[in-house]
């Protein structure tokens, strides 16, 4: 058997079950005695609930329990309010509903039909209230408040402690970043650019909808099977809601059918547990596609950006105001807004900054984490404006970026030193991939195209992003008696290939074949703590923890050899799964046998990674490592209709070290494709607070038919000193530059600047008409 290695593509460990249809996802699972749950949702964006009558619903044959506000406010064992940052959300609506689709009641029944019939028979009297439907309305003086009062913030996140809702307004949080002297900065500028960019709410559209099975035993012990990216956060939140210690909450996570940020923090779990508690039976809820759109979205944003630039292209000042529409509940919006603020300067040295980033309540479904986490919003503005500046100064957009872009050792906006920054390499790689310097086609008829109405253009964009810091990942690695290995971690396999990479890391350390390694599924009763599978953090954090765990086992093996074989420590070496002594070589299994005296026993290795806000030199650090990336697009635009095609897209990400090269390319190309969807099609459409496209016909996803002939994923490798074998996280980076790169390419082709996403043919057409007149 081939030994595990890094820097080499291995067949993924999750593939055989996935290609044969035997991999289990939540909706494939049943537990004995389970009944089916369905949720009744608000038809109004904002209304007071005057009365709820469940009399007829409870009489439907097969109905086991009907859950309403009475069950959560009168149960001493339930804290009705929850939320990862502020406690502003309830399991079901208590006094008011705050968005279309807000849960109002839930039914558990023996059949789905009975549950649905009971939902129809619940009678609710609403008093409709005026609603605020966008950030502009929401921020007007005297606007109707989404929340009359916000419950005291929870103490969960150290980095959000300074952020609080502003009383008497709809401002959920206001993050401020000031650097240098903004007035002096603008005074020094030769040119000032001011633009407003917008982008709409979008949805993750993982093909697997949110789902949960919950069971509450008479002693109060809660078991949930959940489609979650952060089982330990869900465990904490459920423990708080149901007032039990975390040891009484068990969260089990099967394979996820995609996450992309939409499955972090509690979603359908609290309501499923409350329903199971009332039903005294296990309950399964599987959300419909429409319900997913009511559960979580990506923040729509309005970004006003004013930038001062010298004649030579040096950026000297930036004032930026970001308004993120966080919907009716804070969810993780405050941190999204903070990250947008931190990256409003982009990957550039700008000495004078005044950045204000707000998360704002509206009567719309809550917005939360989405792959790119606030940076895809800020980068849309930053990178579009870079090309506006380049055009005005008649500079090459690539040169303008390199002139201002971060180098190794530069200070980030937080005044911390940036290390391991392969930023300019990424820019150079994508420029090379799309032949940036070849402008022979520019603005003229495309060579070889059929009509004279087509114009080609090229565009670039780039980004810098942080990972959640501080954070914790713990791993347990068990060496079994036959020298096979079992890895226990809280990292959720949601498609990113974590099982395989973790096995590669442990296997490389121990010198054993991948086939002898099992990465166990997530069960919070079994695996040690991990904060979350998000923020592109698992390879770096959990990979390191697993590496330390494997090294711990090697240390233990060494001690056994010293003791049992009498060989001094400095004479013991490891190679290819063997322990080399001066005279002989020992197998791990042999050493295990020697230690335990029979075929049996286990060696348990442990690894802990804890990042903090200070690095090993005592310097401030807001990110355990930095992600940098660039993207480049080539487009072909029809000047008669505004229709455009993506001809080629290149994405380069500094991955640190590509542990599994095919896996890295999958992440890069996959994230880029999600970016293509957001750039070209995706948009949740509202009419008076009603979602008019919560389905996959009217909400358009990119398909194979929309793909450019070439997407070129490029791994740049600038190793990080703390990552396992130098690796960094890569899950989000490639998504972020896509939209501005395409917008910049369209400008290059036809001189039309699109400032609001998605980039649609009609917007280009209107721009072309304006240019003509």
């Amino acid at each position: 058997m081939e030994l595990a290695d890094i820097g080499k593509t291995f067949r993924r460990l999750d593939y055989e079950t996935k290609v044969t249809g035997t991999a289990q996802y939540l909706a494939d699972m049943n537990v004995p005695g389970m009944c089916h749950g369905k949720i009744l949702r608000s038809p109004y964006p904002h209304a007071r609930i005057k009365s709820i009558d469940t009399f007829k619903a409870v009489k439907v044959t097969g109905v086991v329990a009907v859950l309403t506000r009475d069950d959560i406010v009168h149960d001493e064992g339930i804290e009705p309010y929850y939320g990862p940052v502020f406690k502003d959300q309830t399991i079901v609506a208590v006094e008011k509903v705050r968005h279309v689709g807000d849960p109002v009641a839930a039914v558990a029944a023996l059949t789905i039909d009975a549950a649905e019939e009971a939902l129809r028979l619940i009678e609710i009297e609403y008093e409709e209230l005026p609603a605020v439907l966008d950030v502009h309305e929401s921020l007007k003086p005297g606007a109707k408040l989404v929340h009359d009062a916000i419950k005291v913030p929870m103490s969960g996140f150290a980095d959000l402690a300074e952020l609080k809702p502003i009383d008497g307004t709809n401002i959920c949080t206001h993050f401020k970043l000031n650097r240098g002297d903004i007035d002096k900065g603008f005074a020094e500028a030769d040119h000032i650019f001011e633009d407003t960019f917008t982008l709409p709410a979008t949805q993750h559209c993982f093909l697997e909808t949110h789902a949960c099975i919950a069971s509450v035993d008479p002693g109060g012990r809660i078991t949930v099977w959940a489609t979650t990216q952060n089982p330990f956060v869900v465990r904490t939140q459920l423990a708080n809601i149901f007032k039990v210690p975390v040891s009484k909450v068990r969260v089990i996570v099967p394979y996820l059918g995609g996450g992309y940020g939409g499955k972090v923090y509690p979603k359908v779990e609290p309501i499923t547990v409350a329903l199971a508690k009332k039903a005294r039976r296990p309950v399964r809820i599987v959300l419909s596609r429409e319900e997913v759109f009511y559960t979580i979205t990506k923040h729509a944003a309005v970004i006003r950006m004013k930038t001062g630039v010298k004649n030579d292209g040096t950026l000297v000042a930036r004032e930026c105001e970001i308004h993120l529409d966080t919907g009716a509940y804070a969810e993780i919006g405050p941190r999204v807004a903070k990250k947008s603020g931190y990256t409003a300067a982009g990957p550039y040295r700008i000495a004078n900054l005044k950045i204000d980033s707000y998360s704002v309540y509206t009567n719309k479904p809550p917005a939360g984490a989405f792959r790119g986490f606030g940076v895809s919003q800020s980068a849309w503005a930053v990178e579009s404006q870079m090309d506006i500046i380049a055009a005005a100064l008649k500079m090459d957009p690539l040169e303008l970026r390199k002139k201002n872009g971060y180098d190794e050792g530069d200070k980030f906006v937080t005044e911390e030193t940036l290390r391991s920054i392969g930023f300019k390499q990424c820019l150079d790689e994508v420029a090379r991939s799309i032949a940036w310097n070849d402008k022979s086609f520019n603005g003229s008829t495309v060579h070889g195209s059929i009509g004279s109405n087509l114009r080609r253009g090229k565009g670039l964009a780039c980004m810098i992003k942080a990972t959640i810091t501080p954070s914790i990942s713990c791993a347990v690695v068990k060496l079994n008696e036959d020298a096979s290995l079992s890895i226990y971690t809280g990292t959720v396999e949601m498609g990113q290939g974590s099982e395989t990479v973790l096995a590669q890391i442990a296997g490389k350390e121990l010198g054993i074949p991948l086939q002898t390694i099992q990465v166990l599924g997530v069960d919070t009763d079994v695996v040690p703590y991990d904060l979350t599978t998000s923020s592109s953090r698992s390879t770096f954090h959990m990979g390191k923890a697993v590496q330390l765990g494997a090294q711990d086992i090697m240390h233990q093996l060494k001690q056994i050899v010293v003791k049992e074989y009498g060989v001094p420590q400095d004479k013991i070496r490891f190679a290819e799964g063997k322990i080399l002594l001066p005279e002989t070589a020992l197998d791990y299994a042999e050493v295990m046998f020697k230690r335990f005296g029979m075929q049996g026993g286990t060696l348990v290795g442990e690894g802990q990674v804890k990042t903090s806000t200070k690095d090993e030199f005592g310097e401030k650090t807001t990110s355990a490592f930095w992600f940098v990336a660039a993207g480049a697009a080539e487009v072909e635009v029809d000047v008669d209709t505004g229709k455009f095609k993506l001809i080629r897209y290149a994405t380069a990400v500094d991955v640190g070290k590509a542990l599994n090269p095919l896996g890295c390319r999958q992440q890069l190309a996959g994230a880029a494709i999600t970016g293509i969807g957001q750039a070209m099609f995706e948009e949740i459409a509202y009419d008076n607070g009603q979602l008019i496209n919560p389905n996959l016909v009217d909400y358009v996803l990119p398909s194979l038919g929309d793909m450019p002939p070439v997407i070129d994923p490029i791994c740049v490798e600038v190793p990080d000193r703390n990552g396992p074998f130098g690796a960094k996280g890569i899950g989000e980076s490639a998504l972020i530059p896509v939209a501005p790169a395409i917008a910049n390419a369209i400008y290059d082709a036809v001189g039309v600047r699109i400032k609001d996403l998605p980039i649609k043919a009609e917007k280009i057409y209107l721009g072309l008409q304006q240019r003509k007149s």
Partner: protein, 171 residues
């Protein structure tokens, strides 16, 4: 309405007894007969009555392709087809592809080229690709794109899927 019985308009509606029908079909090569309700979808039947859960419910309206099954060799969105309409048909699910303990060449190629991440769309893609290759043994790039454009991969493995299908087609 019978005399003497007052119908309260708000009373609980009485559920009509479910219409059931026995159908026979071939599932993954085996002749089967099964009783289904008239309104049961083909997807619910294979998942719940046959325990074949490889096909997934994604959109529920026939656009995402995650529920694709082959019915008499043609790809069908099983979420939007009634089980009774498959009476007398031959059904192939992803579980039936490797029934003899060997991976189908498409399964092999999907693994080799990395044509999946989360795996939720995989069963639908592999079955659609199988139908494609039966219809067009040597498909052009455009034919592959067109044929598979009705399946979504939200993880974005489209390039890898193209490579895998091309590899099996030998094109």
């Amino acid at each position: 309405m019978m005399d003497g019985i007052k119908l309260d308009p708000a009373s609980q509606p009485v559920k009509a007894p479910a219409m059931k029908k026995t159908i026979s079909l071939i599932v993954n090569g085996f002749q089967r007969s099964v009783e289904v309700e008239a309104r049961t979808t083909l997807l619910d039947m294979v998942r719940e009555q046959f325990g074949l859960t490889g096909a997934k419910l994604g959109c529920d309206i026939q656009v995402c392709g995650a529920c694709t099954l082959l019915v008499d060799g043609k790809p069908v969105s099983a979420c939007s087809v009634l089980a009774v309409d498959a009476d007398g048909c031959e059904i192939l699910t992803v579980e039936g592809l490797s029934a003899k303990g060997k991976f189908h060449p498409l399964q092999e190629a999907f693994m080799e080229f990395g044509a999946l991440q989360c795996g939720y769309c995989t069963s639908g893609f592999i079955l659609t690709a199988k139908a494609l290759l039966e219809e067009y043994p040597r498909p052009s790039e455009q034919q592959i794109r067109d044929y598979l454009a009705g399946n979504f991969c939200r993880c974005g493995c489209y390039q890898e899927i193209m490579q895998a299908v091309k590899n099996v087609a030998g094109s």
